[in-house]
Symmetry: C2
Subunit: 466 residues, 2 copies
């Protein structure tokens, strides 16, 4: 049936190409063009539907059976049959669904390198742009501004705020870039992509906000410090206390502000208003947003890191952080209950990121304390400090042994229990029936642009007589 349809469409398209020579009304012209596009899409879909794809969703009678297929290497060549747990239907990222192992592997290698380069070298272009955007340069570029720029107030505002504005603007583009990086890294589900983007953002913030401000030198100086691990405690101990007041004000200016902007959601409001103004869709269509975990979790974790690393250097930071976290609890609780609708179940899988970030913060705090006790020539304090990172790392290793496996896969005990429970349940056959159609590539969804049911006769646009 499909191939039949296909030839018919081909014919119609030829007919259309002949028609373009004639002079037709504008509406007719676009109508035909749209129709043509739609046909093309359908033709491509038919081709796709017939194509053999080297990937498939496989459903199992029991959870245990699925787990067996998932956890044991299938073929002799481990790259030939790769099994992964299927995400929820709404969570599938189709772009890499049928990608070959080699393609996914190459992207998995290339993206971290690109991401590393972005994180480490990010400040270089920012600093260059900031350097370019000074008063004299602006005057050369926009001579008509000369009059305004010579006013003292204006020039003060520009020299004071322009660099920070540029930094904020650049910052604004990072989360989408990280999400794109993660999206092309070969994951087959959106939740994996967001988790991966979340770690990337976390490292980005730690490097480009914490270390960039603490070491307050060029990006290359930062890198240099970390290439001499012996000096890290000393350098950090010298640099970190000086930035205490900066980070206290950062908690207020960035943390509190972000929370309140989260509450008011001004940018999404403007965007939505803008869209509705121009799209002319029915006013009631409104997609419920989902929480951008990859953007919010790293921010919150970063404030945790600030608290842990600064509490013994500048305890004044603690009340500000307390206010931040209390406000955050109230606001995010409200947002999660009343504003956002989750696009997929996270299953608590973001927790290991939180755990790792906390352990990293603790170790960083120990290193800074070690350096400070060294600077202040308190060898006893330094010595007494040594067990702390060791114990932290042992605790981390214990957690990885005891709890991390539960984030990766369900144990047999749970699987078998659930399997037995479901054996006697009534709705299982219905569930299996649903399963067959649950996973559908959106590229193969029926085209829904326009055309009435009797699509070959009625025009595309209903009553627009030009």
């Amino acid at each position: 049936m499909k191939s039949n349809n296909h030839s018919q469409q081909n014919f119609r398209r030829d007919g259309f190409l002949g028609l373009t020579g004639r002079k037709v009304s504008l509406s007719d012209h676009y109508e035909k063009k749209l129709e043509d596009l739609e046909d093309n899409v359908r033709m491509k879909q038919n081709l796709l539907a017939g194509e053999e794809v080297p990937a498939a969703f496989v459903s199992f009678k029991s959870r245990l059976g699925a787990a067996v297929a998932l956890h044991i290497q299938q073929g002799v060549n481990p790259t030939e049959w790769v099994t992964e747990q299927a995400p929820e239907p709404r969570d599938v990222h189709w772009a890499f669904f049928s990608a070959s192992f080699i393609k996914r592997w190459i992207f998995k290698l290339v993206v971290p390198v690109a991401c590393f380069a972005l994180i480490v070298l990010y400040l270089i272009p920012v600093v260059i742009v900031q350097g370019l955007a000074n008063l004299e340069q602006l005057e050369t570029w926009f001579p008509f501004l000369k009059g305004i720029l010579s006013l003292t107030v204006v020039s003060q505002v520009i020299t004071g705020y322009l660099p920070s504005l540029i930094l904020q603007l650049f910052m604004f583009f990072v989360p989408p870039i990280m999400l794109t990086f993660s999206a092309i890294q070969g994951y087959i589900s959106r939740s994996q992509i967001e988790r991966s983007a979340c770690s990337k953002m976390l490292w980005f913030i730690i490097w480009n906000v914490f270390f960039a401000n603490v070491l307050s030198g060029s990006a290359l100086y930062e890198v240099n410090v970390f290439l001499e691990p012996k000096n890290i405690p000393r350098v950090l101990a010298e640099a970190v206390p000086g930035q205490a007041s900066f980070f206290i004000s950062y908690v207020v200016t960035s943390g509190w502000t972000k929370l309140s902007s989260e509450l008011f959601r001004l940018i999404p409001l403007v965007c939505s208003f803008w869209k509705r103004l121009f799209s002319r869709k029915d006013g009631n269509e409104f997609e419920v947003p989902s929480l951008p975990y990859y953007n919010d979790i790293p921010t919150i974790l970063f404030f945790g890191l600030l608290g842990i690393t600064y509490f013994f250097l500048a305890p004044l930071i603690l009340p500000f952080l307390l206010v931040y976290f209390c406000l955050g609890y109230i606001i995010f609780r409200n947002q999660l209950l009343n504003v956002y609708a989750p696009k997929y179940e996270t299953n608590g899988k973001f927790w290991p990121i939180v755990h790792n970030s906390t352990v990293f913060s603790l170790i960083l705090m120990h290193i800074i304390a070690f350096g400070i006790f060294g600077l202040k020539k308190l060898p006893l304090a330094s010595t007494l400090l040594i067990p702390l990172p060791v114990l932290t790392l042992i605790f981390n290793a214990y957690c990885q042994n005891r709890f991390l496996p539960l984030f990766k896969a369900y144990p047999t005990e749970c699987l078998v229990k659930q399997d037995r429970k479901e054996q006697n349940e009534a709705g299982m056959t219905e569930f299996y029936d649903k399963l067959v159609t649950a996973y559908q590539d959106p590229a193969l969804m029926p085209v829904q642009y326009a055309r009435n049911t009797d699509r070959d006769t009625s025009p595309l646009l209903h009553s627009t007589e030009v």
Copy 2:
């Protein structure tokens, strides 16, 4: 039946304790003592046999079933039910068989730290001992040697060979120490222990022979170099070429000598002769030795590392290495075919160590070359070199994806094929019968010291009338 036996032995033991007060002949005394020991052993065995042990061998009807139990986490608490593949019966290391997860985990954490300390700080005591063992010190300790030591020949020999002799003596103790470290690391099979000891020995040799000679400073200087990763290429480039002639002679003195001593097996011969002289066992009892992989593989790999790192600095090393490897092939082929009997199947599982060592050698070579081109101010050559380590690491990652899984577990394809083949085989019931008694803790083996079959009446030593 077991508990019955137990009480009877308890009673006899009490009786013996009463007897010791009496004056008995020496032979009687020792006879009783041995008997007592034997009873104690048997009593302990009974206790052990009745004791519940938190570990068990579980046999499965099919290989796939075993793989399922092995690869999927069983209980909700991942540390409660830990599954591991059972080694061959002759390969089991019983000491840690029933150790708890926490105990094994602690040892797994502690041993690498101890091993790291041994590897890094090993040269410190050696240098101290070498410093103590100079001529004056020897004269103070052994005044009677004064006459001999004042001879020029003797003093020259001592100053020339004593330090190297001490180093060699210390070196002699390292493989057993590494094996002991691995043995208490919580492995349940000898093959795992030997594999682990093999890696440990490899790192030990690379650090204490290659880097110690190349950097030719104190151990702390060595550590210092690696704490400043930025300087590694420069330091290595300065130091490595100078040691070329030393390593060429090392290939001859150590490599060729070890091979020939391997052929003659002088030390085992002396040991065996010694043992037979004193143990008065039947002369025909002779245990076929097994190849000490943990000692031989690292040595061979180290010569590979020398070849890879020195071939472009001092190509003269290559013919010597060629002779070493050709000799080695002939000698080890002979030894494996005619001398050694394997104690367990290695299943080629030592190969990943060889692979990793080769990749490490290549990267080290690239770093040295990079440093040398830097020293000679050839920026083009340095730049052209950058893709090499990258490609090596990508190759390594590819191998880890493509081949490493096969060293860890059998794929379903093979398991199912083998299962189906065995379903129709005749000897399977026999095999299952054998399986029941295959794994027996040697601690529970029947005591075989002496005593005739009617052990309660006849004396322990047959006809020794004093």
